[in-house]
Symmetry: C2
């Protein structure tokens, strides 16, 4: 029921993803009257789906506390997460209210052992391909240990998505000079060097302009600056697209030029298409929850489902646990290491 359009985007989106991954099965939580007409048009999806009816839906404008009060145990969002908890579903995908989704996911699913707080990871297009950027807004602040666990979570996701043995990890900072950067970020760098984890390669600090260059497979930031970076990049991309559009429509010559170069502009648009990379992954929980943009179309929602599929298929949670443990020693011993180096 989530997102700006509800079932009319979510159901066709599921159908697109099913074509790419025919072994998927769907539980569709929400109002049967809204879902069924959509499903009737998509026989392949219908054959692979079961509707779980509920009248209650979290609204986009609900505050997380309201959503929990109104929708706990009854709303489509809660039931979808609960299906993950009970092992009936491998992943939950929602285009609904982000704050409510995070609150319900935290409330119903536990945190993984050794992880203090959840994170949201985004897939960021770069000049080298794609990078995982996290946390883009789940938890604000956090100490060096929190940043190090973000490195663990993000590198596990990069291993799943990019099929890498040992992804490179950079810490978002505002310069490489010793005097710069906040204390937590500097301490996290020392901690990651000291831990020398086998499943990630820590490469040091990355500045804001390094993200788009693809300076590392995984970029780690606490949730405030990570969210600022993500939103600022999205805003800049839209701004330049707007400049480009008005520049191309300005004169007769430029319009003719546009017609000739149409395929090039199409390629550019696809490269910059947010729906291609839709799907924020909630990390740190004992189940897989994917947040799709609320304003996405069916193609975008399908990407979010694809992300969930990959996370299950290539076993994100196991990869996180692998990184948390080294030679049988838990990552939670890290505070000792931190004490030793500070």
């Amino acid at each position: 029921m989530g997102g700006d359009a509800g079932a009319s985007v979510v159901v066709p989106g599921a159908a697109i993803s099913l074509r790419r991954h025919p072994d998927t099965e769907f539980l569709l939580f929400g109002n049967r009257a809204a879902i069924e007409p959509q499903l009737d048009r998509l026989p392949a999806l219908k054959a692979a789906s079961r509707i779980v009816h509920t009248d209650v839906a979290v609204r986009m404008e609900d505050k997380p506390s309201q959503a929990l009060r109104r929708g706990r145990k009854t709303s489509s969002m809660w039931l979808a997460i609960d299906a993950v908890k009970r092992g009936e579903a491998d992943a939950a995908v929602s285009a609904g209210n982000s704050g409510a989704l995070m609150a319900m996911a935290r409330f119903n699913l536990r945190m993984m052992e050794g992880i203090d707080r959840p994170a949201i990871a985004a897939v960021w297009p770069t000049l080298r391909g794609e990078s995982v950027v996290l946390d883009v807004g789940a938890s604000i602040g956090g100490d060096a240990m929190h940043l190090a666990t973000l490195a663990v979570l993000g590198s596990a996701m990069a291993r799943v998505l990019f099929d890498l043995e040992r992804p490179t990890v950079g810490l978002l900072n505002i310069g490489v000079e010793e005097v710069k950067g906040i204390e937590e970020v500097r301490e996290a760098a020392e901690l990651l060097r000291a831990l020398n984890l086998p499943h990630l390669e820590f490469i040091g600090f990355v500045e804001g302009d390094g993200i788009g260059k693809g300076a590392a497979d995984v970029i780690v930031a606490e949730g405030f600056s990570g969210n600022i970076a993500l939103k600022t990049a999205e805003g800049t991309a839209r701004q330049i697209a707007e400049y480009l559009r008005s520049a191309m429509m300005r004169t007769w010559r430029s319009r003719i030029g546009y017609l000739f170069a149409r395929s090039a502009f199409k390629a550019l648009r696809e490269k910059m298409d947010p729906s291609r990379l839709n799907g924020g992954v909630f990390l740190g929980l004992t189940g897989i929850v994917i947040k799709s943009h609320g304003g996405t179309d069916a193609e975008g929602f399908a990407s979010a489902v694809d992300v969930g599929y990959d996370m299950v298929r290539y076993d994100l949670l196991t990869k996180i646990n692998q990184t948390l443990n080294r030679d049988g020693k838990a990552f939670s011993l890290a505070p000792v290491a931190q004490g030793a180096i500070s």
Copy 2:
């Protein structure tokens, strides 16, 4: 002597700015042997300039502490700032080492009364025109009071640059929901509402994607997230320019299209041209210091000189003081107001 190219960019840059503002006079600090040949080619500038020779120059790779040790009282950078302090110059403009410039400016010029820490402000191109964004990296962290003084400094600069009576000011945050954002940012919002300053209009929170939309004339952030936002936007702009370039060169048709639309692309390039908006302004000090990008060309350095010219001509420091005082009551009374509302 500053920047990647030194006198060969700085001197021609001064000449370009002089053409736009013929009442400017220049003190050129540095190695006479490097400056004089440049100046000989530019008779108008030569007539308006005086060289102040020194052998010592701060190097781009010097740490701030090194620069102070090596270059205090002797380097071209120090002498330029000192000329501002002694009233011989109205503004200092440098393309040199940013950290060293800030350290020397803080060391030699005092902070304005009522301002705790310096800030660097950038002019940011938006879909509506331009906005002032600060702090983009001078001071990390800071409480609500610091953010409120940034609003004062930035709005004074916006009054100078954009000729506005009462610029709008937004606080960079990661959402408008009550539960979101860090405490300092929320407190700063309450403080700015309570102060209700006559020379700025506080409009609330702005997210990262609001900057490029031109959501406010002035965007306030502490230096860490402000720098992340600035660098991420620069990186995204370069990334898209790279995509565009390769898209236009991909096929014969797109190359022909490019030729037809050449003037449109030129307009776009100018719109995105960083040299057009070059010049970070150091705010909060008792003198005006402008930082030009180190890698800029003569046109870019001229923009930085232009910014310095405007700041002096339209009296930035007076405008800051005006905003700090209301009806004779100093802004430094604000902590009382803060206590009253929290």
